[in-house]
């Protein structure tokens, strides 16, 4: 039965996170970008309890947990998409363990993510190197009582601060996922070199050099994990985050178009600008509903690869488009770092190529 109505619980949670994002994240985003490091805003965001909710619910989650995550990530990204990506990594990790981990795996790892102190994690899916398949893919080779992981993953958000990585690898001809602790021998986090956008995330490559992983750390243990579901979920998260970012751009640009006078009238009264706003609004609505559609499908079924990919694709194309027009509407002011437009543009370009790199 088709419905676009959020539940009361979803509405309440969304409103609370929206208020937090405007009060705490929006004002801190520029500082974090300039410093290439988060301030207390990330810790405060952790305190909202998104990750804890997933970790504590374990195998018996709330109604529509993926829809809830998508709604809240969109709101976080409205304030600062870097914070949303940081939390999405831990969310994705906790969700994968909760959904696909054995009882023992849930007992071992979920408690880390149910605490007050932040504990970050990442879905380490995309192999390092320019193109997928161009370099060596990450492999897990069978050894006594476990596996030896060999490979490298590209641009992991908060790489140096992660407690755990969920590393996807080729494993006896199939895809599998392994929980690797950051402290394990052979895990090498490269120095962060700075990135175009999402700078506070200090994204860096992580190499796994002959890392031993016990059988008990293969997600699902004896059963191979459903890596596709993890990828699908990550695409929903990206779609939602780009949607939130695009909405922030739009809300910032619209009042300006009514104030800014050129040739004697507000630029909002010129069709070329008014139509841009209409197209931005159209795209933002579509981004939201496509992400929520894929999320709803993932709450009902194991995979929703088509919906999730199309949500990610649409958001990648149009999220960048909205941020691009945001800069254009502000002209020179869009280019200077006093205003957030150029940061949003850099962040949108970054998010739109992070397919396979963001959890949730």
């Amino acid at each position: 039965m088709i419905s676009f109505a959020l539940s009361e619980e979803q509405e309440i949670a969304r409103a609370a996170v929206a208020e937090f994002a405007r009060a705490e994240l929006t004002p801190a985003a520029r500082g974090a970008d300039e410093a290439a490091a988060f301030s207390e805003s990330l810790t405060a965001a952790w305190g909202l309890g998104l990750v804890r909710t997933v970790a504590e619910a374990g195998a018996a989650p709330l109604e529509q947990p993926t829809v809830m995550n998508a709604l809240l990530l969109e709101e976080l990204a409205y304030g600062d998409s870097s914070v949303a990506v940081a939390l999405a990594g831990a969310l994705g990790f906790a969700k994968a363990i909760a959904e696909q981990g054995s009882d023992a795996q849930q007992r071992e790892w979920l408690p880390f993510y149910a605490r007050d102190e932040p504990c970050f994690a990442a879905i380490a899916h995309r192999d390092a190197g320019w193109f997928q398949g161009a370099g060596k893919s990450t492999r897990a080779n069978r050894v006594a009582e476990g596996w030896r992981l060999e490979g490298a993953k590209a641009l992991i958000p908060l790489a140096a601060r992660c407690c755990h990585f969920l590393v996807t690898a080729e494993c006896e001809g199939a895809r599998a996922a392994f929980v690797v602790s950051a402290a394990q021998p052979g895990v090498r986090v490269a120095a962060a070199k700075g990135t175009l956008g999402l700078r506070a995330l200090e994204m860096a490559d992580v190499a796994f050099e002959d890392v031993f992983v016990a059988d008990s750390a293969r997600l699902g243990e004896s059963e191979c994990a459903d890596v596709q579901r993890i990828v699908d979920l990550s695409r929903v998260a990206l779609g939602a985050i780009l949607g939130g970012l695009a909405r922030a751009v739009f809300d910032y640009a619209l009042p300006y178009t009514k104030e800014r006078v050129v040739h004697g009238e507000a630029i909002a009264k010129k069709q070329s600008v008014a139509f841009k706003l209409a197209d931005m609004h159209i795209a933002i609505q579509a981004m939201r509903w496509m992400a929520l559609r894929a999320a709803a499908e993932l709450d009902e079924a194991r995979t929703a690869t088509r919906s999730a990919r199309l949500a990610q694709r649409y958001s990648a194309d149009h999220g960048l488009g909205v941020a691009d027009e945001g800069v254009q509407i502000f002209g020179g002011h869009g280019f200077v770092r006093d205003l957030p437009l150029e940061m949003w543009y850099r962040n949108a370009r970054s998010l739109s190529v992070l397919d396979g790199l963001v959890g949730a």
Partner: protein
């Protein structure tokens, strides 16, 4: 709770509609060189198959919503190129339902009523209407004078609801609507218009010269009420666009499959051919439009017609149909030009959706005015 899952009954009805569209495909080109021919009420293959709209009405309680399914049935129809069973969706009937008195509704509800809005001077600005309806106290009649163009169902309708400038000796002025039945002296229908596409659609001009109608035929629909009917119909036009786009995209995927190119929803941009990547972009646009159409109809069902949601759906549908049919031919190459296939027909047909019932530009004006809080005077 958010859900995008169709009910079992939704799926059953849409599946039947799709099967019927597949039967209709053989007639898709029949009208290309025989444009004066009217669409039959049904083609022979409809015999023995259920009327999907009757099915819909019989099982309303088991649907995601009648309005949603009503729109999605048109999506299925348009896959076939022509409808197996004609189902007229005429705006005149919608305006009559919105603005007519119970007596007026009772009299004309079962007729096909075309809407007469567009005039030679333009269609996007109905406020510029020049057709007049002047009250004649001597005969207690309205005298309609003027000309309308690009009228859908011009020939096959029973009556047309005409938007005209009302002139009354008591000083009343303004735009209003008048029901003019076929056969009324002074009302004539022009020849079928020669169009690039949608040649099976009945399109002609109307003219009114000393055309006299009784007071009862004045339907008190002002411009606002008339335009409200568009909020219901625009998402349906977007559903047409989804249907034609889907047909073109499915055909293109089928040809690509012959050379081993199939959709891969997991691969990155370097993991697929450029053709598949372009198709993926279209698939994303198609799904975005589908959601917008369903959302507009869901809002209509729950809260009444949503002007903005409708314009969003229409703007997306119009854009999608252009882009999808253009891109499919770009991918298919020269063979797609041949009338041996339907790609060239879809390309021609699809171009209307960003024009009729409000161009893409008009939809964007409506959306932008709402966003900015501007009146039509402030933003035009």
């Amino acid at each position: 709770m958010i859900s995008f899952a169709l009910t079992e009954r939704d799926r059953e009805i849409l599946k039947e509609a799709r099967a019927q569209a597949e039967l209709a495909v053989k007639y898709a080109q029949d009208f290309e060189h025989d444009e004066d021919r009217m669409l039959p009420p049904e083609f022979p293959e409809a015999e023995g198959r259920p009327d999907v709209r009757e099915l819909m009405d019989r099982h309303v309680d088991e649907l995601s919503g009648r309005k949603i399914i009503h729109a999605l049935l048109y999506l299925e129809d348009w896959r076939g190129g022509v409808p197996l069973r004609e189902s007229r969706y005429s705006l005149g009937n919608t305006v009559l339902a919105i603005a007519g008195t119970p007596e007026q509704y009772a009299r004309w509800a079962d007729r096909t009523i075309a809407i007469g809005l567009t005039e030679p001077i333009g269609g996007s600005d109905p406020a510029s209407t020049r057709t007049t309806a002047t009250w004649d106290p001597a005969t207690n009649q309205w005298i309609v004078e003027g000309e309308k163009i690009f009228i859908t169902y011009a020939q096959s309708c029973d009556a047309v609801l005409v938007l005209a400038r009302l002139i009354h000796p008591d000083g009343r002025r303004g735009l209003s609507t008048f029901m003019i039945e076929k056969g009324t002296p002074g009302f004539s229908v022009g020849k079928q218009i020669r169009k690039m596409g949608i040649r099976f659609e009945d399109t002609a001009g109307l003219s009114f010269s000393d055309c006299r109608i009784p007071a009862f035929n004045h339907i008190d629909g002002d411009l606002k009420k008339t335009l409200r009917s568009f909020s219901e119909s625009r998402p349906v036009v977007a559903a047409y666009a989804l249907g034609v786009s889907r047909a073109a995209m499915d055909f293109t995927w089928a040809r690509l499959a012959e050379i081993g190119v199939t959709p891969d929803y997991d691969a990155g941009p370097t993991g697929m051919t450029a053709a598949a990547d372009r198709m993926l972009e279209l698939e994303a646009e198609w799904e975005a439009t589908w959601v917008a159409v369903v959302r507009a109809k869901w809002v209509e069902q729950n809260e009444g017609p949503g002007k903005i949601e409708s314009s969003i759906a229409k703007a997306m549908g119009g854009g999608l149909a252009r882009k999808a049919t253009q891109t499919c031919i770009a991918i298919l190459g020269a063979c797609a030009l041949s009338a041996e296939h339907l790609a060239e027909k879809w390309f021609r047909d699809a171009r209307i959706f960003d024009i009729y019932e409000g161009t893409g530009e008009i939809q964007r004006l409506i959306i932008a005015r709402d966003l900015l809080g501007y009146s039509p005077k402030e933003l035009n």
